[in-house]
Symmetry: C2
Subunit: 322 residues, 2 copies
Amino acid sequence: MTESDAKTEGTTPGPSVLVVGTGAIGAFYGGKLAQAGAAVSVMCRSDYDVVRAHGITVESTLGDFHLKPVAVVRHAREVPEPPQIILVATKVIPEMVDVSALIAEAVGPETAILLIQNGIAIEDPVVGAFPSNEIISGLAFICVTRTAFGRVVHQDFGRLTVGCYPEGTSSRTQALARLFSSVGVPCEESANIVTDRWRKLVWNAAFNPISVLGGGLNTREILESAGALKLVRRIMAEVCLLAEADGHPLPSGTVEANIEGTRAMKPYKTSMLLDFEARRPMEVEAILGNAMRAARRLGVPVEHLEVLYVLLRLADVKNRLG
Amino acid sequence: MTESDAKTEGTTPGPSVLVVGTGAIGAFYGGKLAQAGAAVSVMCRSDYDVVRAHGITVESTLGDFHLKPVAVVRHAREVPEPPQIILVATKVIPEMVDVSALIAEAVGPETAILLIQNGIAIEDPVVGAFPSNEIISGLAFICVTRTAFGRVVHQDFGRLTVGCYPEGTSSRTQALARLFSSVGVPCEESANIVTDRWRKLVWNAAFNPISVLGGGLNTREILESAGALKLVRRIMAEVCLLAEADGHPLPSGTVEANIEGTRAMKPYKTSMLLDFEARRPMEVEAILGNAMRAARRLGVPVEHLEVLYVLLRLADVKNRLG
């Protein structure tokens, strides 16, 4: 594969974008936007020096590429003028600095905020902080890992779904879909992104916790255990009930389609398991906590989900703090 | 504390006892029976040479003592004549050699088989193999650990409950209660030992799995988590329902009494957690598997128990085999 420098210098036809969080997701999608002609700046902290000096190199199955940002900043106040799009790709964990506070000084009246993050209801705090800005919610289906500061490896997939939050599409989502598609990243607009988030949660809420609590299992090991598979089905059924109660009914074959889809995949370690093994915080609240809160609000019994939530929260703390 | 040799030589007033399994439980209670005047032989495998040469030393809060068995054998066929009592104190795990096969050649028509083991319904295979022998079921409330071959440390408690299986008491249970009590081990007879096993399972089924699945928690850490405590209560309630459906109703305050009792204890690592940390097999089947099978037989829904069972079984395999 050849490495081609993303064109970010000089006048660009694309929008100005500020990427917040230069982990794997931010680097990959930010880099792709730069490749598509966007003027991409990045905001980062721990990896600031490396990214400022060298940019970010992405080894990708789509062809390696390099992101040389227009600007690298530590704080939103260093951004000279509000970007057209702020791409937020940070992990959704309580210990994370509040995203809204992090970006506030860079948000102008015309800035759209694109959240490419896991979980359910993760948009609400941002909507609360910026009620008159366009909030675009994005779901990434991708295997991508940061292997070092300034270095990301994209192993598989890459598809993106974007939609206005809480619903609809806009000229901005259309432009994003075109930009990403122009550089080989399948990107579809969704008029019902919350439904899509529930659909993705069906998989995440089942496979992620079981992979960790079962002692470190990949997807195949889960599928091969009759007991685990039964538990997967029950969790998925609970999430389907939740989605329906939330006004986002999923197709009747959703559970089996998820299981068959997983069977067709190579054995795969979930993101929670990777985080757990590296003793990093897991996205317990975004994936399970917010689902539990929705269940409480909607009065839906989700007993299996709750057991996993309780155990995983305990295991997360113990894993990090001893 | 002084170390006193258990008197097992010469003519003894006590019964002849064969202890099967010289782990912590077998060594402690076998040693105490020897101290009380029983003629105690032991059957062991991995620690045969050490025990044969040096016997077993027990450091105990009740005073240190030493068990010098009348005989140390590897196989039941080496036992010259059937003992009056066979004390089985092996761990109840599927990988364990079948206890009945292990002891068959030492069982005479008058031999009583005393099972001091964890779990529920653990007597059934033994009853099936020796239908005309007296089966005595015993529950130990004790903190005791084998620290090396031939070396056991008794940290706390020690109380024993014994009863005929499935119910009643006998001259043998009475004799055992007297023997143990004579050497400082509180031992009460129970006419409803199955009820007592359900009662003990209330605690075990809740605290053991959560201690492991929660990432390695002691009893205090479990009690201090609102989520974990709620889960503890639900599991305990399910076991109470099971016990009742099995014809062994427990007192209405059982759940809260268990929680209060645990609060009053020093923070404590469960036996499953100790096994898990040492990468030894956990007693998943004896404690949860048999409860699940009872639930299926009795038609009692035990959803929380089932989640823990599935996850713990997976974690157990992964923990030992990678």
